[in-house]
């Protein structure tokens, strides 16, 4: 039961420079980030299949999650 996280910028740096990261399904985005040693507060946006989700969203099998941090501001 796996899913894929797509990242960039600071999150990519925290995931050993990888744009894509395979994660286990069945856990919330927040818990998954914590398991990856990423502070969930770094994440500004979670998108699954084009829909914005909260960090409490439970990751489903084969999900592709876009997880975005903001580094530039308004």
């Amino acid at each position: 039961m796996t899913a894929t996280i797509l990242t960039s910028s600071v999150l990519k740096e925290l995931l050993d420079g990888k744009n894509e990261y395979e994660v286990e399904a069945g856990y919330s985005v927040r818990d998954t980030l914590l398991k990856l040693n990423i502070n969930p507060e770094l994440v500004a946006l979670v998108i699954v299949a084009g829909v914005q989700r909260s960090k409490d969203y439970i990751i489903q099998e084969k999900d592709v999650l876009k997880v975005m941090a903001i580094i530039g501001g308004g």
Binding site: L42, G73, G74
Partner: protein, 607 residues
């Protein structure tokens, strides 16, 4: 010179003399363009002690070597002057299409000098350059005037225009362009207004010389491809800067009720997806932009259209005033844009007045009968108009929160949220020490765009005070504003994660001169020190006290939200400054040393 228009245009409004001079090679070498040109001409030509609203001050408008070329976001224009808001250096960056037309008209800078005896607009159509009577436009809002000038001259002409706020020299009046883009901060519109210049109308058809056309085209295409392939292009385009609203609320950075907190209990109503669904009609970009962050919106409630609101306006005219209706924020945005006043400073000024009212320091007698409780939408609309006309309480608020609070006294200085007289932009910094330092040391006052370090705070520890954090702030201050020097937008690099080396290939091909990012950062450091010396020169007794933030961030912990009970200690504020000055090579009072100035090739200029 490759990459340049080749000429500086001087317009003396007192005498009516218009003259062009070649862009100096050595100035291009040392200061590159844009904000760099502005800083150079400001320091060199505006005499010490000049009244910001007097004839000796100048308004310097500059493009950069990237502007007008096939580079993503190559549409940034810099407006530099001595600020009527702060008395120090002001530099405001404006997107849109104006800077491209400057280059096509062969111009790297336009320098407005003196004061006209009557309202005029500057008309530029390549070689045809004239000051024309603007009496019929004086007194009108920016949107209507831009519309009339577009109808008169055609869509290909680009227009920068001031509103009543600029005409009345509101200290934070802005300059508007393209029905929603602004040179927003520091009162550049007041300087244009006092010079009686209602608008600049510009059009050009010249080519821009490029050293290596083939490589430039390849590099430009590579940059656009990198943007197109970026993982988050769709999301960034969908929300623009409003993507940050919910995140700021979550981490306690959303300015709430005059920065008394960083989370807003009704913030959800202002989030990007809500705004997109409720009011956004379409996306709107600047010259050459592959990732348009502008959102064009329609408010059914107010039957109005506006470009925006973007994040800063949502923060300052929304949550900072206790307003949670996105349509009301959009309407306030429209009123401020049309009046030609900066939404960030205006939101701060009204927030400060609301807090004064709630504390009983200002009463209905002082507010022209307005009920200034937080959340009062109609009072906000009314005050925006009063500020732009300098009418009643609006006249006080038009001076900015520093001067207004000094006049009112009674402890209101403690909740006037500014650094060096410039109101703080949209990030509450109760517990974000790198971002706090970025505001404290920003070269124009409390503005975020030079060094946006709040993600770094969260990444390494919000209240941590270590040399690495200070080094990060300094690196950002040297590097990020280089986009304003080069005449381009930083957002593709910073938010889409574009490899910054791709820009080097393009810039080398454009200018024919190889410079690495290290070289550009050295120029950034030179400009940073020059602007610091402008503050020192123009303000007797300038010292570290000028870099202090609002006491709200080290004395009053928020009582609610994500940063409830959190505050930066005053000793940490000073430790941050100590480390910053040391790393900058400045004295303990924050003054660049003579050795540092020699090292940066600035000794002669600042002597």
């Amino acid at each position: 010179m490759n990459g340049y228009g080749g000429k500086i245009l001087r317009v003396n409004l007192t005498t009516g003399k218009i003259a062009k001079e070649p862009t100096p090679v050595e100035v291009a070498r040392d200061f590159i363009g844009g904000r760099g040109f502005g800083a150079y001409y400001l320091f060199k030509e505006v005499p010490q002690g000049a009244d910001p609203l007097g004839p000796l001050n100048k308004l310097i408008i500059s493009s950069g070597p990237m502007s007008g070329l096939m580079i993503p976001g190559a549409g940034k224009c810099d407006f530099t002057t001595k600020s009527p808001l702060t008395g120090g250096y002001a530099s405001a960056s404006m997107g849109g299409h104006f800077t491209a037309e400057m280059k096509y008209a062969g111009l790297d800078s336009i320098i407005l000098e003196g004061i006209s005896s009557k309202p005029v607009y500057l008309f530029i159509d390549i070689e045809k350059i004239e000051l024309r009577d603007a009496s019929e436009y004086w007194g009108q809002g920016t949107i209507e005037v831009e519309k009339q000038l577009k109808e008169k001259f055609g869509e290909e002409f680009q227009i920068a225009v001031i509103g009543p706020g600029g005409e009345n020299a509101v200290s934070y009046a802005c300059i508007n362009h393209d029905f929603g883009r602004q040179a927003g901060r520091g009162g550049v519109g007041a300087v244009m207004g006092i010079k009686k210049v209602k608008a600049i109308v510009i059009h050009g058809t010249n080519s821009i010389p490029v050293a290596d056309t083939k490589t430039y085209r390849q590099a430009g295409k590579a940059l656009y491809k990198a943007c197109k392939d970026a993982s988050f292009l769709a999301e960034w385009t969908r929300y623009g800067t409003t993507v940050v609203t919910s995140w700021c609320d979550e981490v306690g950075a959303l300015p709430t009720r005059n920065f008394s907190a960083g989370s807003f209990e009704d913030g959800k109503n202002l989030y990007g997806p809500v705004m997109r669904e409720k009011i956004v009609i379409t996306d709107k970009g600047c010259f050459g932009c592959p990732s348009p962050c502008g959102k064009y919106s329609r408010s059914k409630k107010y039957d109005s259209y506006v470009e925006g609101p973007e994040y800063e306006t949502i923060g300052l005219l929304g949550s900072n005033l206790g307003i949670s209706d996105i349509e009301a924020v959009a309407q306030a945005n429209l009123l401020a844009d049309d009046a030609g006043i900066d939404t960030i400073s205006a939101g701060n000024a009204i927030g400060w007045a609301m807090e004064c009212y709630e504390k009983g320091i200002l009463t209905r007698e002082d507010t022209d009968g307005l009920d200034l409780h937080f959340g009062n939408i109609e009072a906000t609309f009314e005050l925006l108009g009063k500020i732009s006309r300098k009418e009643g309480l609006g006249a006080l608020l038009a001076e900015g929160v520093k001067k207004a609070s000094q006049k009112i006294g009674k402890g209101t200085e403690k909740f006037a949220i500014h650094v060096k007289g410039m109101e703080q932009s949209g990030y509450a910094t109760h517990n974000a020490t790198a971002m706090l330092l970025a505001y404290m040391t920003c070269d124009v006052g409390a503005h975020h765009n030079r060094s946006w370090a709040i993600t770094y705070d969260i990444q390494v520890g919000r209240d941590l005070v270590v040399p690495e954090k200070v080094a990060r702030v300094i690196w950002l201050q040297n590097f990020r504003p280089m986009f304003d020097v080069l005449g381009g937008c930083r957002l593709q690099w910073v938010e889409l994660g574009i490899d910054r080396e791709l820009y080097i290939t393009a810039l080398d091909a454009i200018t024919g001169i190889h410079r690495s990012w290290d070289d550009y950062e050295k120029v950034g450091e030179r400009i940073w020190n020059l602007t610091r010396m402008f503050w020192v020169r123009e303000n007797a007794g300038f010292d570290r006290s000028w870099d202090m933030p609002s006491p709200r961030f080290y004395e009053e912990a928020p009582e609610s939200g994500a940063t409830k009970g959190q505050i930066t200690k005053i000793e940490d504020v000073h430790r941050l400054l100590d480390m910053y000055y040391e790393q900058r090579g400045w004295s303990n009072e924050g003054l660049p040393t003579s050795d540092r100035l020699v090292e940066l090739n600035l000794a002669e200029l600042v002597a």
